[in-house]
């Protein structure tokens, strides 16, 4: 319960940050992506400020024996630069360029109630579920291989 409350507060702060910085506006993201047009570098400042604070926070977190409300911290362990990493980044990049939405701002913009945003989120959820099922299927077929 306390972990959910902490996550709610974090989500509120995250959503407020995206709203204040106008990263919720697809036209602002496209203004950043349009480097040969009328370039709007605001996203660079958002990322830089966020990275500095995150870097400091993660430095502290590494020195905790355990997180405040949880038994242990789950740091990512993957190391390989593989086909899923690169292929997924290309597909996401195409989607990002087409709409100007990455997952965070898109979810924040559900607050507008716009049908276009709701349809985008529904399609995004379908894409996520499709990939989850595909990977589960791959793992399943690997596990089914007879041992040598």
């Amino acid at each position: 319960m306390i972990r959910a409350v902490a996550a709610l507060v974090c989500g509120l702060i995250f959503g407020a940050g995206l709203t204040v910085s106008q990263m919720t506006e697809t036209q602002k993201i496209k203004g950043f992506l349009d480097i040969t047009g009328y370039w709007d570098p605001s996203l660079v400042v958002v990322m830089a400020a966020a990275l500095i604070v995150t870097f400091a926070g993660y430095w502290l977190a590494r020195r905790q024996t355990a997180p405040v409300f949880s038994a242990r911290a789950l740091w990512p362990t993957a190391k390989d630069i593989d086909v899923p990493l690169v292929g997924g980044a290309v597909l996401f990049g195409v989607g990002w360029g087409l709409i100007g939405f990455c997952p965070g701002p898109a979810i924040v913009d559900l607050s507008t109630g716009m049908p276009t945003v709701i349809v985008f989120i529904a399609a995004m959820a379908v894409g996520m579920i499709a990939n989850n099922l595909l990977r589960r299927h791959e793992r399943g077929s690997l596990a089914a291989e007879p041992a040598e």
Binding site: A4, T19, V20, E25, P76, G88, G95, I99, S111, R135
Partner: protein, 143 residues
């Protein structure tokens, strides 16, 4: 066209970083939105409550700010529904396959100096820039 807004960008970015740092310090979890949303869609009973709470916070933030007199977000969306659906599918599938998005790779991963995340962030940024270039300056569209 939008103009450069460095002050609100720095304040907003600082808030985003604070949220990412707090989620690790308090709950020991990475604040990657595609990871949290994709994780919620796998319905793991021990993780689902905090994941849903985080997502509710994202949507509630601009509503609370609106109640305090702040303008709601006003994104300009494509008029073609097919583009919206394709964009959503690619964003959902791609971020899950790649294991992160602008927050998971671009922020959490880059703050850990993860080579994977630096590579992924470079690739999706350059790809998106190419797509916008092709649409705006080659095809001449306004998408």
């Amino acid at each position: 066209m939008t103009s450069f807004t460095p002050i609100s960008a720095a304040i907003g970015g600082g808030l985003i970083g604070l949220a990412v740092a707090l989620l690790m310090l308090l709950n020991g979890r990475i604040a990657g939105i595609s990871g949290i949303a994709g994780g919620a869609l796998t319905f793991r009973r021990d993780e689902l409550p905090w994941q849903l709470a985080f997502l509710v916070g994202l949507v509630a933030a601009p509503l609370l700010m609106h109640a305090a007199g702040y303008a709601l977000p006003n994104p300009i969306m494509p008029t073609n529904w097919a583009v919206i659906v394709v964009g959503g599918l690619l964003t959902g599938f791609g971020t899950q396959w790649s294991g992160g998005c602008t927050s998971g790779h671009g922020l959490c991963g880059m703050a850990r100096l993860s080579p994977r995340s630096i590579v992924a962030t470079g690739i999706f940024m350059v790809t998106a820039m190419i797509v916008v270039f092709l649409i705006r300056h080659v095809w001449g569209g306004v998408l």
